[in-house]
């Protein structure tokens, strides 16, 4: 059985995609950019960050494009004043939640959070900062985890579980106290599930995960080619 092809409208343009695709995928294939943060091609989509919210005609609520399957006749709007104000609020709340001090960050200039803020024209934060005093785990011989810079996108959790198969990372606690955790709250350096592959470091959108010995702005991430890794695991390619 072949997957049916559906037609829809995104930002006034007639487009088409496979019935299994999401709004984000079809938009991307047609050169329509939707801001994302937690999404990473090759990993499962969780819809955690809500930056990819779009409007769909006939529905009052907003829909996260990364986890919304396309439908025949759908009319999608990816840019509007309303969406922009929500996206700006989300990015500002991320900044307010932890200690994102770009000027002293290893990822300054190569950070997806910073890029988003720039694209959305955010030059100040409307919300009072929480300035939590969070730990830095430098127990690993090659890598560092700085909770102060984490946006809880869970990319590291997913790449470790889904691609590396180690599942060293998960999220502990809930709500505002949520944090990334290794094994049983084990210092990263003594985790026995961690293979030291470094994939988590390279998918992390911010400076939360970095290589040791990097100074300000020196941490350039090499995104692993995840769709390639996924394809190589498929039965027929073995």
């Amino acid at each position: 059985m072949t997957t049916p092809i559906l037609t829809l409208t995104i930002d006034g343009r007639p487009v088409s995609g496979l019935a299994t695709e999401t709004v984000l995928q079809v938009a991307g294939e047609n050169g329509i950019a939707i801001p994302t943060l937690c999404f990473l091609d090759g990993l499962s989509a969780t819809g955690a960050c809500r930056l990819c919210m779009v409007e769909i005609e006939g529905s009052a609520k907003l829909h996260p494009a990364c986890v919304t399957p396309i439908q025949e006749g759908m009319v999608v709007t990816t840019q509007s004043e309303r969406l922009r104000s929500y996206r700006r609020a989300i990015v500002q709340l991320l900044f307010a939640e932890r200690n994102h001090v770009c000027a002293v960050c290893v990822s300054n200039g190569h950070c997806e959070l910073q890029d988003l803020a720039r694209e959305l024209g955010i030059d100040h934060i409307d919300f009072p900062g929480r300035y939590p005093a969070l730990a830095v785990d430098a127990s690993h011989s090659r890598f560092v985890l700085d909770h102060n810079r984490c946006v809880l996108c869970t990319r590291c959790v997913r790449v470790c579980a889904e691609i590396e198969g180690a599942h060293t990372w998960d999220v502990k606690n809930r709500g505002i106290r949520s944090q990334i955790v290794a094994d049983l709250d084990t210092p990263w350096g003594t985790s026995t599930t961690c293979t030291g592959c470094g994939k988590c470091v390279h998918v992390c959108p911010t400076g939360a995960l970095s290589e040791k010995g990097r100074s300000v702005a020196e941490m350039q991430k090499k995104r692993p080619a995840l769709p390639y890794l996924v394809a190589n695991r498929a039965e027929e390619r073995r």
């Binding site: 990372w169 003594t190 599930t193």
Partner: protein, 167 residues
Amino acid sequence: MPVNESTAPPADDTRWQLIDRVMQRLDRRPDALIETLHAAQDAFGYLDSTTLAHIASRLRLPPAKVFGVVTFYNHFRLKPKGEHTLAVCTGTACHLKGNDKMLAWLRDRYHLAPGDTSPDNRLSLVEVRCVGACALAPVFLPDGALVGKKSFGEATAIIEEWLGDAP
């Protein structure tokens, strides 16, 4: 599966057999986790890393996943409980009716954050999300007995008296 702590439980402690039986009954399926955690907490009073490592390896679950589940639910404890437990409801109604102030006061007065137990093991503070008594907000439960609809001053006085700390 490798875990940090030794996964072999002390053979002479029969409580482990009980927990193993629960896992066996559920075919050691990964979704037996919550029920196993309940059994382990009932048996030991709390869940330490040896217990969690053992459960993770028996159910073939990543330790991080187990830790995530344990810390997601307020019901599970990683440390022994104090002599007394004060539960403060932080559901929406109770939060709005002043339990945020209550938690701030407990932090100042007893140096406790939700989930903490005082160093002398006298008092554990836990946070609960809605006990289903929103009409009585703000609600708190000293050793499980529900107290509601008290002003901030009344509530703090009740707690101090309950703990024998009334000035």
